[in-house]
Symmetry: C2
Subunit: 337 residues, 2 copies
Amino acid sequence: MKFLSNDKLVISGAAGMIGSNMAQTAMMMRLTPEICLYDPYRKGLEGVFEELMHCAFEGFNLTFTDYVEEAFTGAKYIVSSGGAPRKAGMTREDLLKGNAKIAEDFGVNVRKYCPDVKHLVVVFNPADITGLIALLYSGLKPSQVSTLAALDSTRLRSELAKYFHISPDEIVNTRTFGGHGEQMAVFASTATVKGEKLPDIIGTERLPEKDWEDIRAKVIQGGKNIIDLRGRSSFQSPAYLSICMVAAAMGGEPFRWPVGTYVNNDRFSHIMMAMETEVTKEGTRIIPLDGTPEEEKELENSYHHLCGLRDEVISLGIMPPISDWGSLNPYMTQHTC
Amino acid sequence: MKFLSNDKLVISGAAGMIGSNMAQTAMMMRLTPEICLYDPYRKGLEGVFEELMHCAFEGFNLTFTDYVEEAFTGAKYIVSSGGAPRKAGMTREDLLKGNAKIAEDFGVNVRKYCPDVKHLVVVFNPADITGLIALLYSGLKPSQVSTLAALDSTRLRSELAKYFHISPDEIVNTRTFGGHGEQMAVFASTATVKGEKLPDIIGTERLPEKDWEDIRAKVIQGGKNIIDLRGRSSFQSPAYLSICMVAAAMGGEPFRWPVGTYVNNDRFSHIMMAMETEVTKEGTRIIPLDGTPEEEKELENSYHHLCGLRDEVISLGIMPPISDWGSLNPYMTQHTC
């Protein structure tokens, strides 16, 4: 009946499929008794609250509100899945603008109502951009704002397990860094298959180059595949993994997957992307990791793609130019690891 | 990283909203490493399997199949949410016939492929009937087949907590027995509110009779209210509570709510209904409990309603007459507690 923490956790976007699963997951994992469900869509939010009350968990102070001030005041952890889904007739740019605005409001509200928050986890797409915007407007340290970036890595583990017909537990340390999906950089050199290094298998008859390319394609299509199969976007895995990130930030079980974090060093400048990381009570910290020259090149390509997306967002006026970032969040001009 | 059991658990109906939540819940609760997802709808089933693989749980042998023989062979626990939803143009009788047939097939398959199963939990509606049919055709002992019947009791806890503006933890031992919803028998005498007996509060200014009637109405409408609010049937609470029942049957945490169980004693004859129960590795056992004369009368009314439903099902030819039950499942003619 113990809890990991007594701090207030806010599930933002709790009326949605990811948000409602996050809430159930956080309660089952007993992260904290103080859980507040927030969503501007009050009706659906109340439905989720009712469902969770009917589970009859013990020891919780579960609350819900559609007032952001009430939700965020006193919050120490916030996990946000509160993006808008793409609707018919919407362009990619419309979606980007809409979610960027939600991320901006999220950051502004954090700064206004809970500047003492310890950690934010941002889940809504495109997380590399929405996380960046939330960090900018919140004024928090880069170590305090993380984005969900684990799914490509866990999908790689899954695809390799299926390919070799072995337990996923025998596939260790699969890693993709940088951007998401087509833009991801796969670091095969970090992974082992039954103790053997993955690059030693790629290109052999056990895993011909063509099959490896197929596996990579399946990872990239992992999200789309869920939509094709279930008729809805994935919600169980993003919800579960995001709550595992919060647990690690609360000092619980280490999070074993890459996390999207702000990077600003000699090599990568003013960007949010998946890196080798450690999440602790002190926040998210980048862990230096060297890939092969080819992998590092892939990561640089991924970085440049993300820069292009960031610059597009800036040129559309969705985000201020980098030169203005320092006045909004001085931490973002400092060097990270 | 420990598991509660090493026995094979089958989640039947795993492609659905309740089933997929059950699977995630069972994995998070680490009931057993041997989890098999079964559903005749292979496409959706594969989508759920993919989602759970992407969660990257450790230590599991997670499998999925749309072949019932493969799924049920070796199963020691099965939880089934595999009913059909009511579709446009379907009458109540159509739905009843459809789900009764599913329950019959379920029981027949259990007898055929896993006669050594330890416990079944039946979740699909109307559970008092589908559970009865599954028990009949499985040939199992009544103690081995349980139905989810906790939701009215947990909803009563929730409604009382909301009414008094106190923590649900201060509402203890709310109980409804017999049938579900409008036919439920509320045993107010078992419950306490902040240590005070609920019947001592009902009818006072703290809980006027009219307000108590409103609370009862809200409990009865609890499921409908979720549909109104979320636009879909409740799935999180039935999934979570059903898996808690499986956990108790595996020897884990006691299940703290009424369970639907077969009753055949001097007072209630050949019926499946919610009773005060204990779920252990030995199965579900009825615990004698005396309500007030009014409550006992309510329970009898509820029982008679269920008998009417059962007899209707028999007269429609969906289920054989009681006189034939002994040849299908001799245990059902024996007296229970």
